[in-house]
Amino acid sequence: MDDKKVILEVKDLSITFGSGKKTFTAVKNVNFNVFEGETFAIVGESGSGKTTIGRAIVRINPLSSGEIIYDDKKISGKLSKEMDQWVIKNIQMVFQDPAASLNERATIDYIISEGLYNFKLYKNEEDRKAKVDQALSDVGLLPEHKSRYPHEFSGGQRQRVGIARAMIMEPKLLIADEPISALDVSIRAQVLNLLKKFQKERNLTVVFVAHDLSVVRFISDRIAVIHKGRIVELAETEELFNNSLHPYTKSLLSAVPLPDPEIEKSKELIVYDESVHDYSVDKPSFHEIKPGHFIWANQAELEKYRLELK
C-alpha cells in the first residue's frame, strides 16, 4: 500500500451551489487519495454529491474551497492555458447517459475525433483515421460504424462510443460516472470488462462513481461511501464489505437486492436513521480506524466502532 504512487489527491474539497440564503453545500470537506492504476469507487445515493466530485475533478464544477492535486500539480482553481489543456488530455470522463452525452447531429467519426482536433493530436489525416479506427476496434466497434450517427446505435454501443471518445486521448485517469446504470444486464458485463481491459493494458486509473455497491465490489480496489456530501466511510473493497462500521454503509449494503431468493427472503432491511449520531458536544471528524479504513465519527463512536472491528 505504501509503495503505491498517489496520482490524485482531493483535499478538503467543498462545493456549494447558489448564493446567499439559497446556498446549498453539495460536497463537504471531502478528502481522499487515488493510487495510480487502481479503481477507486465513490458510492452514494442521488443527491449525495458523488457526481459533483467527479465533475469537479474534470473541472466542470468549480470548487468553493479545498484543492485537487493531480500528479503533484494543483489542477483546481485558475490554470494557465497549457495546464488546462494538459489536464484535459490526462483526465477524461465517461458519462452516465450515453444518449445525452453524445452530439446527436455529429457522426461517430467526428465525436471520437473531436479531442484529436481540439488538441492537434494527429500528424495528418491518415494518422487521425488510423487512430479513430484503433479506438473503435479497442471498444469492439467496427470501422464502418464511423459514418453513422449516435441514434443508430444501441445503448451499450453508444456507451462504447463514449468510452472510445475518452480513451483516444490516452488519458491517465478516467472518471466514469455511472457508466453502466442505463444499460441492460448483459451489456453491463461487456462495458465493465472493457474498462478492466483498458486498466490492465494501459495502467489506467479509474474513479468509478456509482450507486450500486454490488457492481462496485467486482471492479474496484477501494470504495468511498458518501452521504449528503460527506464521505462517511472509506476502505479497501473487501474490508468495506466484511467490516462495514458506519450505519449508513450498513443500510446501503442491506438494501442492495441479491439475485438469490433464499437470501432475499430472510434479509433484514437496515434503515439509516441520522439521529443515532449525537454530534452536539462531541464533534465528528474523519479518522483512520485501522490502516486504510477511514470513518467519519466522533470519539464516543470511535470507541464503539473499535469494539465492532474484526
Binding site: 458485463a189 470488462n193 439475485p259
Partner: protein, 352 residues
C-alpha cells in the same frame, strides 16, 4: 399449485406494430397463466417485449400496435374481444392497475397530490368530496407518507422520487384492483428507497390480497419479490417456473447467460461473463431459436426449427432443444453452479 385459481390467462398471444410501413412482431405466441394472489416477475432486457406483453392486459398498446392473434381472458372476460375504450374502462384501473417506472410522468404536475388521489376515489367509488379526502389521507398514511393531512395540498414537485412513487401506488390502490402490474417501479430509485418501496408493495399485497405482475430487468429485485418468474427474450417467454426453479435450477441457455453476467458472482481480476452479440431484429421473421446466434450451446436444429416448450416439472418449463431427449447432455455453466452457496459466501465475506 395446480388447484389455485387462474385469474388471467394468455394463450398464443401475438402483438404486431406497424412502423414506417414495416411490421414488427413484438410478441411471438406467448402463453402464460397467472394465479390469483401470486407475484409473478417478468424478466428480460429492453426490447424483449415484457412491457408490451402486459400492456395488452389493459388495452394500453400504442395506436400502431395490436394483438394480431391469441386470446387473453381475465376472470371470465375475454380481453382480446374488447373493442372500445368505454369497455376497457371497466377493466383498466378498476380491475387491473399499472404502476410505471417514472412517477413524475404518471402524476399531473399542476394538480395537488390530494386532488389526484381523491379524484380517483370519487370516480371509482362514487364517494363525495369529504369522504374521498378522508380515504385519500388514509391511503397516504398506508403507503408511508408521514403527516398526510399537511401534505394533502402539496404538488408533485414538492415530493421526492420515492414519495411520488408511493403516491402512484396509493392512486392505484384507490381503485382496489385485483391485479397490480408494476412496470419497473423502482428502476429510477435509489437502492435504499427501492428496498422500502418493494417492502411496501409486499406488505400491501398481504393486506389487500391482489395479484402482482412485476416487470423488471434486475434479477436481484426478482429474487426479492417473486413467487414465480417468466424470462422473456425476443418477444417470447423462453423459460418460466418458481423463483427457486429459475435461480437454482435454470434450464434455458439465455437464463444461464443472464445469471452468469451478474457482477455479484464475478471474480476479481477475471472477466465477467458477457453475452456476445445483440438480440435479433423483430422486423424480420425469426427462424429457429431466437437466442441461437448468441448461444454457445446451440445445435444445428436451433438454427432451423423453433423449439417447443418442454416441461421439466409441474411448475417449470423451458423452450430449448437442449431438453429434447435426443440432445446431448449439457451441464450448468460453472459460473452459476451452486449459486446460493456462492452468494452466501459473498454476503458473509470474511466471516467464515
Amino acid at each position: 399449485m395446480s388447484e389455485r385459481k387462474i385469474i388471467l390467462s394468455a394463450t398464443d398471444v401475438e402483438v404486431k406494430f406497424q412502423v414506417r410501413s414495416k411490421t414488427l412482431t413484438a410478441i411471438r405466441n406467448v402463453s402464460l397463466d397467472i394465479y390469483e394472489g401470486e407475484t409473478i416477475a417478468i424478466v428480460g432486457e429492453s426490447g424483449s417485449g415484457k412491457s408490451v406483453f402486459t400492456k395488452t392486459f389493459t388495452g394500453m398498446l400504442e395506436s400502431n400496435g395490436s394483438v394480431s392473434n391469441g386470446k387473453i381472458v381475465y376472470d371470465g372476460t375475454v380481453l382480446t374481444d374488447i373493442k372500445t375504450d368505454k369497455e376497457w374502462e371497466k377493466i383498466r384501473g378498476r380491475k387491473i392497475s399499472t404502476i410505471f417506472q417514472d412517477p413524475m410522468t404518471s402524476l399531473n404536475p399542476v394538480r395537488t397530490i390530494g386532488y389526484q388521489i381523491s379524484e380517483v376515489i370519487m370516480k371509482h367509488q362514487g364517494k363525495n368530496k369529504q369522504e374521498a379526502k378522508q380515504e385519500a389521507i388514509d391511503l397516504m398514511r398506508k403507503v408511508g407518507i408521514i403527516n398526510p393531512e399537511n401534505r394533502f395540498d402539496e404538488y408533485p414537485f414538492q415530493y421526492s422520487g420515492g414519495m411520488r412513487q408511493r403516491i402512484v401506488i396509493a392512486i392505484a390502490l384507490a381503485c382496489k384492483p385485483n391485479i397490480l402490474i408494476c412496470d419497473e417501479p423502482t428502476t429510477a430509485l435509489d437502492v435504499t428507497i427501492q428496498a422500502q418501496i418493494l417492502k411496501l408493495i409486499k406488505d400491501l399485497q398481504k393486506e389487500y390480497g391482489f395479484t402482482i405482475i412485476f416487470i423488471t430487468h434486475d434479477l436481484g429485485v426478482v429474487a426479492n419479490v417473486a413467487d414465480r418468474v417468466a424470462v422473456m427474450y425476443a418477444g417470447q417467454i423462453v423459460e418460466y417456473g418458481t423463483v427457486e426453479d429459475i435461480f437454482y435450477r435454470p434450464a434455458h441457455p439465455y437464463t444461464w447467460a443472464l445469471l452468469s453476467a451478474l457482477p455479484q458472482i464475478g471474480k476479481k481480476g477475471e472477466d465477467l461473463f458477457a453475452i456476445p452479440g445483440t438480440p435479433p431484429s423483430l422486423f424480420s421473421e425469426v427462424i429457429g431459436d431466437a437466442f441461437a446466434p448468441r448461444n454457445p450451446y446451440a445445435m444445428k436444429i436451433d438454427f432451423e426449427q423453433e423449439p417447443p416448450m418442454f416441461g421439466i416439472s409441474l411448475t417449470h418449463f423451458a423452450k430449448t432443444w437442449l431438453l429434447d431427449p435426443r440432445a446431448p447432455k449439457v451441464e450448468l455453466p460453472d459460473a452459476i453452479k451452486n449459486l446460493h452457496e456462492k452468494l452466501l459466501e459473498v454476503v458473509n465475506g470474511g466471516q467464515n
